[in-house]
């Protein structure tokens, strides 16, 4: 079903409604985790390992413990003796039956496995006193050989966990026909074999993580405030791993300053705050410092990708074979092992291929654990296929645009429910229009002329034009599908819609925003469904006491699952209200129509009532149909029948200074199709931010580890999150191919920009350098790396 733009209500589905969230955020009224304080709170200071792999031989806490304001200093061994935990920190996605999953304790009792592992915790009266005491804890280690890279992990010479026999955590594959795939390669007219590195990234949400656990004065209840994307999952996992009964734990996510996946984990600090507050009967808190975050919050990406394409003489794909080696880091956190597999179904991109094979091996290293980061597996897949397609176009000798057109699913014509070679069904797609529109917006023909002119003139500033036509999988997810993938949780989302006595509407959202504008978008859905003003809608979220059921926000799922649940709950409210209206009209319910918020009886204009007027009738319950329960409140747990598959075309334009190697992103054009849009302004904002995060991977960001597995650039001074000065304006447009997965026809757009942009930018960099015979460029394309590539291509330093 295609939802057309709401013309009767300025704040309905399709409207560029300004955000309800903004008022508190532009005035400083919002409360982020570090803004919330309670009397008597104790500050945790984490003593973190400075070694990547070592056995703790001694910890001297005496000096720290006697400092002013210090309540106590607890080591991992002491905490283990206190019997605070029922289980280690959880991994919810054991991707294979034999996956290795070494225990991950909040504070390490004996052996540290990455720099940043917590070895002791200080409890003090103030932030400053905690920081001072941490400095005075003396830890001695016996060094163990560290595994500092994926290559070292594969070599298996040193073990990241000495009680395991190999660094390999698992092997996971979709290889329906290995012999057939090999035969296709044997018979191919053209083949490319590529090795790409997805460097580790630090998610770097602007708000560092933080936690505050507040025990109630009596009764044993405890409230855990956390800067988290996943309050509901956190609550379940805290109960399961601490043994504190779930009904005594309330989790609240206050205003959360961005997540990008980094705040969807179950972290040592959260668990520590909870159990210590519970045991001590005092509030316990912690706020991460930025430089600490490289060792205290999971990182993203971290893969080596081997991608092979086979095609016929015309560049039509005949087989794709992918092998990735994925860096788990030191431990399996919540969805560490599954993150690379989220891309597994997408390594053929938007292209048809008869043969497809995907294998992933997960490897332990002595580095910060990896887990979801914006796109989570899908940017990696999109990068691999889109880079490889450019390399195939060089090999075949045709334009990168043309090779894409020749391979589009269904010839670039519209389709629904297309079965991909990995065995899943793409809900809907129509790829050619996004390509055509992007080429037009960017004036690629004009850019090509300018590029040629600069080449002819021998300019030191060369132009590059890069393309990416991506597809992604989002709207996580059908619970059965997740079960099939051994993911421990379901993929449904819950919503309650209440029509209050005074006619206002209260929506309870199980999805949990941290910048996405749910309060606005959910109000718009209600406005259109119920024919009321979005100003009459309040959205409750992010607090398990207000919203007890939910599976939270990640994987571009909020609208495609949670928003749909809200729409469906509104439908149920309307249907019950229809019965009340019919009762008041003394008409048959099937004769009562609902239009623009009003119930009426066909042919009886005097019989009309607005739905908001029925709130009080349902509340007072003086005159309801026989047997009807009072109140207008309905809830829905929506379990989607399928994923959603947004797609789009991005064009990046770069200028490469061949003398310095400097790359400037000078233009970016994005045409995305996320199905029906509830708020195009918010959609564009998501694309803008996503594009910059992907471009940042392409050009700026990398978590650099030395040979001893120490991170060398943990601060924002050395980890280069780009500013406005490095980024261009972004020109956006969209097409609309509604999803067939849900009644709103919506997909998801939170990660699309990131999934499209890294490949587009690197394709542009390589495009600029093609006259040198350069066919690939590692990320990030640093000036030194680009200059070295030019020098190498020209036979040494020039």
């Amino acid at each position: 079903m295609a939802v057309t733009e709401d013309t009767t209500n300025a704040g309905g589905i399709g409207a560029r409604m300004l955000r309800k969230e903004d008022g508190k955020l532009v005035t400083g009224e919002s409360k982020f985790i570090d803004d919330i304080h309670v009397p008597g709170e104790l500050w945790m200071g984490m003593v973190r390992s400075t070694m990547a792999h070592a056995r703790i031989t001694s910890i001297d806490t005496s000096a720290a413990a006697s400092m002013p304001g210090v309540h106590s200093v607890l080591t991992g061994a002491q905490l283990a003796d206190m019997d605070l935990w029922a289980a280690p920190l959880p991994c919810a996605w054991p991707v294979t039956d034999d996956m290795a999953n070494p225990p991950h304790w909040p504070v390490v009792p004996e052996v540290v496995h990455h720099v940043g592992d917590i070895v002791a915790v200080v409890l003090a009266d103030s932030r400053y006193q905690a920081a001072d005491a941490v400095e005075q804890v003396i830890v001695e280690y016996e060094s163990l050989p560290a595994v500092a890279s994926i290559e070292q992990a594969i070599a298996d010479t040193n073990l990241a966990h000495t009680d395991l026999s190999t660094n390999k955590a698992y092997t996971w594959a979709i290889a329906p026909d290995p012999e057939g795939t090999q035969a296709a390669f044997d018979a191919a007219a053209h083949k490319v074999s590529c090795r790409f590195v997805q460097q580790r990234l630090i998610p770097a949400a602007m708000e560092p993580r933080g936690v505050l656990a507040v025990p109630s004065p009596m009764g044993g209840d405890i409230t855990l405030y956390s800067a988290t994307q996943v309050p509901h999952i956190l609550k379940v996992m805290m109960a399961a791993t601490t043994g504190i009964p779930e009904n005594m734990i309330r989790v609240v996510a206050p205003s959360v300053g961005g997540g990008f996946g980094a705040k969807l984990n179950i972290n040592p600090d959260e668990s520590l705050a909870l159990v210590l507050a519970h045991r001590l009967g005092r509030a316990v808190r912690w706020t991460e410092t930025r430089s600490e975050a490289a060792g205290s919050t999971h990182q993203g990406r971290g893969q080596i990708q081997h991608v092979e394409l086979a095609s016929d003489a015309n560049g039509k794909l005949t087989a794709i074979r992918v092998k990735i080696d994925a860096d788990m880091g030191a431990y399996m956190m919540l969805i560490t092992p599954g993150t690379p597999l989220l891309g597994s179904f997408l390594y053929h991109g938007v292209y048809e291929t008869p043969k497809f094979s995907f294998t992933c091996e997960g490897w332990f290293t002595n580095r910060t654990p990896t887990d979801a980061y914006r796109g989570a597996g899908r940017p990696e897949a999109s990068y691999a296929i889109e880079r490889a397609m450019d390399m195939l176009s060089y090999e075949v000798g045709i334009d990168p645009i043309e090779i894409r057109r020749r391979n589009y699913i269904n010839g670039g014509e519209p389709f629904e429910m297309w079965e991909n070679p990995a065995g899943i069904f793409f809900d809907s797609g129509h790829y050619t229009p996004t390509l055509d529109r992007a080429l037009e917006m960017a004036d690629v023909a004009g850019l090509r002329a300018e590029q040629q002119a600069r080449r002819d003139a021998g300019s030191s500033k060369q132009l590059g034009i890069g393309l990416c036509t991506y597809v992604e999988i989002c709207g996580l997810a059908p619970s059965r599908a997740l079960g099939g993938l051994k993911y421990a949780a379901g993929g449904w989302e819950h919503s309650t819609v209440r029509l209050l006595p005074t006619g206002k509407v209260e929506v309870v959202s199980g999805s949990t925003p941290h910048g996405q504008g749910h309060e606005t978008s959910w109000s718009q859905i209600i406005a259109t469904k119920m024919g009321i003003s979005p100003d009459d809608v309040t959205v409750l979220h992010s607090d398990t006491a207000k919203s007890p059921l939910g599976l939270d926000t990640y994987g571009s799922r909020s609208l495609a699952v949670g928003g749909v649940a809200i729409s469906m709950a509104a439908d149920k409210v309307i249907e019950k209200a229809r019965l009340i209206a019919a009762h008041q009209f003394e008409a048959a319910p099937e004769d009562v129509e609902f239009t623009d918020g009003s119930f009426s009886v066909a042919g009886s204009p005097s019989k009309s009532v607005h739905i908001q007027e029925l709130g009080f009738a349902a509340f007072s319950a003086h005159d309801l149909p026989d047997g009807m329960e009072p109140n207008l409140q309905e809830q829905v747990s929506f379990d989607p029948p399928n994923f959603a598959f947004p797609f789009g075309t991005h064009v990046a334009v770069v200028e490469v200074d061949e003398d310095t190697g400097g790359v400037e992103l000078i233009g970016y054009f994005a045409v995305d199709d996320c199905g029906n849009q509830v708020n195009p302004m918010i959609v564009e904002g998501q694309v803008h931010g996503g594009v910059v995060q992907g471009a940042a991977q392409a050009l700026y960001e990398i978590a650099v580890y030395d040979d001893d597995a120490n991170i060398t650039n943990p601060s924002l001074m050395d980890y280069l999150v780009p500013s406005a000065a490095e980024m261009p304006s972004i020109v956006t447009d969209s097409t609309c191919t509604p999803s067939t997965t849900n009644p709103l026809g919506v997909k998801g757009v939170g990660e699309a920009g990131t999934i499209g942009s890294a490949a587009a930018v690197i394709n542009a960099v390589v495009d600029a350098l093609r006259p040198h015979g350069i066919t690939d460029m590692k990320m990030p394309a640093t000036p030194m790396r680009v200059r070295r590539a030019i020098e190498a291509a020209n036979g040494g330093a020039s």
């Binding site: 005035t27 400083g28 982020f32 570090d34 708000e207 961005g258 803008h688 924002l716 406005a724």
Partner: protein
């Protein structure tokens, strides 16, 4: 007064305050903890991100890279007091523009970004897209990709085409 504490007198959002702090107290912590104005956020520890940007005597400054003692005698404006510095009852035009242009998402960088922008518009009269981008080089945002922030600043400066 605790040992080593120093008395600091400063004006914050038009109100005089006299606080006692350790000399090492960062200005941002004095504002947040001593004065209770939590709108100013901390995003890093290297003066890189600008989340803590405030106005000191009318010009943007990173309050995590100032000691509270350095603010002696200063007039400080934080996000909580910005609206009162403009004519009218509502928001400051820069706050309004960030809202109108969807120049914020999670909102964590926003107080610093808005105050840096107010200072930028005041300091550099002939702003355009490029100059706004360069002028905001010291304020990082992870959500918006900056596109709508730049539009907001140009709008507030009356430069939006």
């Amino acid at each position: 007064m605790s040992a080593g504490a120093v008395r600091v007198r400063l004006s914050v959002n038009g109100e005089s305050h006299e606080i006692e702090v350790e000399p090492r107290t960062l200005l941002v912590h004095a504002l947040r903890d001593s004065i209770g104005l939590t709108g100013t956020n901390v995003g890093c520890d290297t003066s890189s991100c600008g989340a803590c940007t405030i106005l000191v005597d009318g010009r943007s400054a990173k309050s995590c890279t100032m000691l509270a003692v350095q603010a002696e005698g200063s007039e400080i404006v934080t996000i909580e007091g910005l609206a009162a510095t403009s004519d009218g009852d509502g928001l400051h035009p820069m706050q309004e523009a960030f809202h109108e242009c969807h120049g914020l998402q999670c909102g964590y960088c926003t107080p610093g970004m808005i105050l840096a922008s107010v200072s930028l518009v005041d300091e550099y009269p002939d702003l355009d897209d490029k100059k706004v981008r360069e002028g905001l080089e010291g304020n990082l945002c992870r959500c918006t990709g900056y596109h709508n922030i730049v539009r907001a600043v140009l709008t507030a400066a009356g430069k939006e085409a």
